[in-house]
């Protein structure tokens, strides 16, 4: 098969799931990180049986109109706040019937960080057998781009036109505090790491949480073709740490950033959401430093990334 640019040149092979998870005809914006994520997930899934729960978010709109659906697996669109609880029911019945089905929640940052936080926390506390994936576009994309608690400080949104004041919630920290078996952040620009984590999370039991920085040209006011590069810049600059947490206590850093000021500058300048809001590389540095000090403290050791 041919190379897929969306997969960074990675070719589709026989190991891939035969049917795509995101079929052609979907209504994602060009350059949407969620599309890339679903392509990666397809590859990671192989022939495992999946069921998917999608709360109100861009992915739900992407599903398309009845009777067609762009999802290549059985899926249920839940209410905004209920993804993890609906998945709880689906997973519980799969368990009762001895099925190998992997139940996945695919939720945006709104349904994860905000309205669905209680639901998510409860399912994590009960250690339900669910893989919860948050594609974080740092904005309510579905409603046209308002601030969420995942929106970083300094980003302009339709409800914070002069830039958001508050910093982003530490979602992995929150999930790790639940002592769930597995929590990890994923960089779509590092495909080997992404595939390894997706596969690990698909096979693990209990509650697993994956946080994916998902470029959103519409909300980020960036070029669609720049999405993956933006993620890479976020990782290089230390803005988006790529790490995993086992059982809420064992922290492993997967990619060591360059902490490059140039990368940070590029990251900010390639998106119009950071224009005229007063955010600069200098203003971001202290927070990056503080968080990395914390991560080093927690991890104790650093695993350098494989180059992609």
């Amino acid at each position: 098969m041919m190379n897929e640019p969306a997969l960074n040149g990675m070719a589709c092979t026989d190991r891939d799931r035969r049917d795509p998870l995101l079929r052609p005809g979907n209504s994602n914006c060009g350059g949407c990180g969620m599309s890339n994520l679903l392509q990666m997930l397809r590859r990671a899934t192989g022939e495992r049986e999946l069921k998917m729960v999608v709360p109100a978010c861009c992915a739900a709109v992407t599903g398309g109109s009845f009777p067609e659906s762009v999802f290549g697996i059985p899926a249920i669109m839940s209410t905004f706040a209920s993804a993890a609880s609906v998945a709880t029911g689906v997973a519980a019945v799969a368990q009762l019937n001895g099925e190998e089905t992997r139940v996945i929640c695919l939720a945006g940052d709104g349904g994860t960080y905000d309205i669905g936080m209680g639901t998510l926390s409860a399912a994590a506390e009960r250690n339900e057998d669910i893989l919860y994936i948050c594609y974080d576009n740092e904005i309510y994309g579905n409603t046209g781009g308002q601030r969420s608690s995942a929106t970083p400080a300094g980003a302009a949104t339709t409800s914070t036109p002069r830039g958001k004041q508050e910093t982003k919630k530490d979602i992995i920290g929150i999930m790790a505090a639940h002592r769930i078996p597995y929590a990890a952040s994923i960089s779509l620009a590092h495909i080997d790491d992404t595939l390894r984590k997706l596969q690990f999370a698909l096979d693990a039991r209990g509650f697993r949480f994956l946080h994916v920085l998902s470029p959103c040209p519409t909300g980020w006011k960036s070029e669609p073709a720049m999405g993956i590069e933006l993620v890479r810049l976020a990782v290089r600059s230390g803005l988006f740490p790529v790490f995993e947490v086992f059982d809420g206590e064992r922290y492993v850093i997967n990619i060591e950033p360059e902490f490059s000021n140039e990368a940070l500058m590029m990251y900010l300048s390639l998106q119009r959401r950071f224009r005229n809001t007063g955010v600069t590389e200098e203003s971001l540095q202290p927070n990056i430093e503080r968080y990395w000090n914390y991560l080093r403290l927690m991890s104790g050791r650093i695993v350098p990334a494989k180059r992609n």
């Binding site: 049917d19 049986e49 069921k51 729960v53 739900a60 709109v61 599903g63 398309g64 109109s65 009845f66 009777p67 659906s69 999802f71 290549g72 697996i73 059985p74 899926a75 249920i76 669109m77 839940s78 209410t79 706040a81 209920s82 993890a84 609880s85 609906v86 998945a87 709880t88 029911g89 689906v90 997973a91 519980a92 019945v93 799969a94 368990q95 009762l96 019937n97 209680g118 639901t119 926390s121 409860a122 506390e125 009960r126």
Partner: protein
């Protein structure tokens, strides 16, 4: 068959437990529950049961209790939950979803006033919130009815011609916490009565999506199908009554329970336990030679207009008693049924026991005296009771 002395909450939970066990050879049972007075005892009982191929998830809120039921039902299991009052109000968004997915989830509601101001006593205003959402609604007047109704509700809701959620309502505390004798069939009988849950559109292996976006024309078709299906409930319920009678040797209550209505000139129309008091009042007035009868609306959704029209035919005075108030309008039941009376009949609305007041026979006698001297119906009246 055994006779047990149990509360209505317990009766609902026991009924659900037996129904759950009856599905052990199919895809099992899964329920999400969250406590709220006065329905708490029902979830507590359920949490104490051993259910082969069944699980009860202690949820973090009513919204998610229904979310879990939605997931379970969408995965093909039998599902049940219980709540009331503000819990039900909190759950409403997912109740809309459950109906929209056409999932046969059964829910027991121990009717309670919505707060604030906080009030834990009986009022039908909570379950009536679900009036327009596509849930079947059944109201019971005693513990036996509660037990039977939950059992029948599974069979009704899961019938391939229906496939929609069902609400089984009981008056909070008045029934939920009152012990009474209940005939409990054996598991073997219930196995024979309840077919295995088979939800044709469950999430299986094929790639179909539940609850996705729809264009207006598709949505209206789905609404219409749901509406049409619900209108068939009376007929299917009658079939269920027959099979119930055949297996258990007694008949569950009708969707419309009439009491000495045939030769009556005046009717008392109500739902839930008000109907029992109304029947006692009818007895009392009949002794004085007054032609009074009572109607209890057990099936509120679908609304049985033809049946009510028949019962109302020729009746000159009808008192509709509501244990609820639609603010700015009057009683909900009155609004629903007044159009079924003969032209010229006086259909007067009395809201009694709103927010939990204790409704006694003298209150009904007083309002009937008021109805007696009316020449036409007036604005709905709240009868203050305590």
């Amino acid at each position: 068959m055994s006779v047990e002395l149990i509360s209505a909450n317990h009766a609902a939970a026991l009924s659900a437990t037996l129904a759950a066990r009856a599905n052990r050879t199919a895809r099992g049972f899964c329920s999400g529950v969250y406590p709220i007075t006065p329905s708490t005892e029902c979830m507590e009982y359920l949490c104490g049961q051993e259910i082969e191929k069944g699980t009860v998830v202690r949820a973090d809120s009513e919204h998610n209790a229904m979310g879990i039921c939605i997931g379970a039902s969408a995965a093909g299991a039998r599902s049940f939950t219980t709540t009331c009052s503000n819990g039900l109000a909190y759950m409403v968004e997912n109740c809309v979803a459950a109906a929209g997915y056409r999932l046969p989830i059964v829910m027991s509601v121990a009717n309670r006033t919505l707060g604030p101001p906080w009030n834990i006593w009986a009022d039908h205003g909570d379950s009536l919130l679900l009036r327009d959402l596509g849930w079947l609604q059944l109201y019971s007047a005693d513990n036996q009815e509660v037990f039977d109704t939950v059992l029948c509700a599974f069979k009704l809701a899961e019938d391939p011609r229906m496939l929609m959620p069902a609400l089984c309502c009981m008056d909070g505390f008045i029934l939920s916490h009152t012990m009474a004798q209940v005939d409990v069939p054996s598991q073997e009988q219930i196995d024979r009565f309840l077919p295995l849950t088979d939800i044709p559109h469950r999430l299986d292996k094929t790639a179909h999506t539940l609850g996705q976006m729809e264009a207006p024309h598709a949505s209206v078709v789905h609404r219409m199908q749901h509406h049409q299906a619900m209108l068939g409930a009376e007929q299917i319920y009658a079939e269920i009554q027959n099979s119930f009678a055949e297996i258990f040797g007694r008949r569950p209550a009708d969707p419309l329970v009439t009491y000495r209505t045939e030769d009556a000139e005046t009717l008392l129309v109500s739902m839930g336990t008000l109907g029992v008091t109304a029947e006692r009042v009818v007895d009392q007035l009949r002794e004085q030679g007054k032609a009074v009868g009572a109607v209890r609306v057990r099936m509120f959704r679908p609304m049985l207009d033809t049946g009510l029209r028949k019962i109302f035919a020729g009746k000159k005075r009808i008192a509709v008693l509501d244990r609820d108030i639609s603010i700015g309008f009057g009683g909900v039941l009155w609004g629903e049924v007044r159009g079924f009376a003969d032209p010229g009949a006086i259909v007067q609305n009395y809201m009694v026991g709103v927010a939990g007041g204790d409704v006694r026979p003298e209150h009904m006698l007083n309002l009937l005296a008021d109805l007696e001297q009316r020449h036409e119906s007036g604005a709905p009246q709240i009868v203050e009771v305590a």
